[in-house]
């Protein structure tokens, strides 16, 4: 089996006293689309930040393409990030630039290509996400789904080896959601890249990903292919897949005994 592109080995992370991840190990194989799922605040986005080198693990190792991210200096980290692309939750488009300039931004910053070639490349990337006709619009004129697609075009501008998606389906209508899902799969295959999707949209993810990790309370609690996940008896995954209100993830926030609180007159 070839070396995975991303490998996390016994990674722990904490914000001060608050532990976010405990001894997590997982890998993202080359050419595959992997989803990382879990409830809000379980540390999914932190995982992306660790892979991108925006945070450093307090224990364990994060390797990307054989390099230990935590040991990279600023220049080496930036060199690695040029081969990565990250799609933020709401696109994070530069609001003072047109759609065209947003997609051209990484090309202008990191290459010395002539303007004509940048023009062609930007139009190709926008065409790939179906928004060549929106090149002259400002981000404020786009719908949420269109903004996400423009951000996707910007993310793939430099043909990255690794694509990271932070909640790409949040707040989208069903059509936009399907479009983004299909684009993630198609672009990954067309670019020969690897993708990590952090999401809690189970139904869309099951259609497009190759492998899924479930995270809860900072640990990997389940993993498998979409087929394995659909048929698993694991109570956490079952609750997640079927959107059950109560289960291993309780409905109530931990509190004192209800009857005692009512009779004692305090919350």
């Amino acid at each position: 089996m070839p070396d995975p592109l991303v490998r996390l080995e016994n990674v722990s992370f904490a914000y001060g006293e608050r532990t976010i991840l405990r001894d997590i190990s997982l890998s993202i194989p080359r050419g595959k689309v992997v989803a990382i799922m879990g409830g809000s605040g379980c540390g999914k986005t932190t995982l992306l930040r660790l892979i991108g080198g925006q945070e450093k693990a307090v224990g364990g190792q994060v390797q990307v393409d054989g390099q230990d991210v935590a040991t990279l200096g600023r220049d080496a980290l930036y060199a690695m990030r040029r081969r990565m692309g990250m799609l933020f939750q709401f696109g994070a488009l530069f609001t003072d630039m047109t759609v065209f300039d947003n997609v051209a931004f990484p090309l202008r910053e990191h290459t010395d290509l002539p303007a004509e070639m940048i023009n062609d490349l930007v139009l190709m990337k926008l065409h790939a996400v179906g928004l060549r006709g929106a090149a002259r619009l400002m981000p404020g004129e786009l719908s949420g789904g269109m903004a996400r697609r423009v951000a996707l075009a910007r993310t793939i501008a430099l043909d990255p080896m690794l694509l990271m998606y932070d909640e790409p389906f949040t707040g989208l209508d069903p059509i936009s959601l399907g479009v983004i899902g299909q684009l993630i799969r198609r672009l990954n295959d067309a670019l020969g890249a690897s993708s990590v999707i952090v999401t809690h949209d189970i139904q869309e993810s099951l259609l497009i990903v190759d492998y899924i990790y479930f995270i809860s309370e900072g640990k990997v609690v389940a993993e498998g292919t979409p087929d394995e996940i659909r048929h698993t008896r694991d109570p956490f995954v079952h609750q997640f897949v079927h959107a059950e209100v109560d289960g291993p993830v309780p409905f109530h926030y931990p509190s004192d005994d209800y009857a005692a609180a009512l009779t004692g007159g305090k919350a």
Partner: protein
């Protein structure tokens, strides 16, 4: 008693930590300033937003300050029979103090707050993070050009404020009150020294430009990325800039104009 001392110590540590953080931030701006000058269009754009768009308020305020100086100056000077010195009084007041200080305060309110809001909102909408993930330093691309745009704009705006103020003083003194035109300008020319008055005023406005721009970009970059956080950062920019300008003005005036 013990609690009070602990609280004082904690506040002192916070202030020292904050100052150290600002100093490191300032150092990073200087280190990453290369792009502001090699890709001059980034800085020119900020010069337009901080400088050109502040022109209206600076020119109008300068005119009114000059008009008021003319009225007040004439009222006082005529008591001593020296109303011909009005040009001198207006020019020295503006070049030494009012030009740099009032222009600095207006600049902090108009341009400084806008810079803080812009950088703060870029932080809220993850644009700075996105830039960093694209291997483009936000300090080099966003912060440094805005800092230098402010530093360059400020002395130019102060000069225009003073010029407009002198024009306002001339309007009141010569056109409306009837002071001799020749006396107004010749006394001003004789009394105003280029190095002592004009240059010191320019040095002051440069120092205010650095202080206001640094405070504005720092508050935007350091703000809590929420609507409330940005609003607080803007308030801090205006308040801290005003205090910094007035404190720096006192310190510099005490060194520059001791009358020795």
């Amino acid at each position: 008693m013990g609690g009070g001392i602990r609280k004082l110590g904690s506040v002192a540590i916070d202030v020292v930590w904050q100052l150290g953080f600002i100093a490191r931030f300032f150092w990073l701006i200087l280190v990453y300033s290369g792009q502001s000058f090699t890709r001059l269009n980034l800085t020119i754009r900020e010069l337009y937003f901080s400088g050109v768009l502040s022109l209206l308020i600076i020119l109008v305020s300068g005119l009114f300050v000059g008009l008021v100086l003319g009225l007040q100056g004439y009222e006082i000077l005529q008591r001593y029979g020296s109303s011909d010195s009005m040009g001198t009084m207006v020019a020295l007041s503006l070049l030494r103090e009012l030009g740099p200080v009032v222009a600095g305060l207006l600049f902090a309110s108009r341009a400084g707050s806008a810079v803080t809001a812009e950088i703060g909102l870029m932080k809220v909408t993850e644009q700075l993070k996105a830039m960093d993930m694209m291997a483009v330093s936000p300090i080099a691309r966003v912060v440094a050009p805005r800092f230098w745009g402010g530093v360059i704009s400020m002395p130019l705006l102060a000069a225009m404020f003073s010029t407009m103020g002198i024009f306002g003083g001339w309007l009141i003194g010569v056109v409306f009150i009837g002071i001799d035109d020749g006396a107004f300008w010749s006394q001003m020319q004789a009394a105003v020294d280029f190095r002592y008055d004009v240059l010191n005023g320019v040095i002051k406005s440069c120092a205010f430009g650095v202080a206001v721009s640094l405070i504005a970009v720092f508050q935007g970059y350091d703000c809590v990325p929420t609507a409330e956080g940005v609003s607080r950062a803007i308030t801090r920019t205006v308040v801290s800039s005003a205090l910094a300008i007035l404190a720096l003005d006192f310190v510099m005036t005490s060194f520059m104009f001791r009358g020795l």
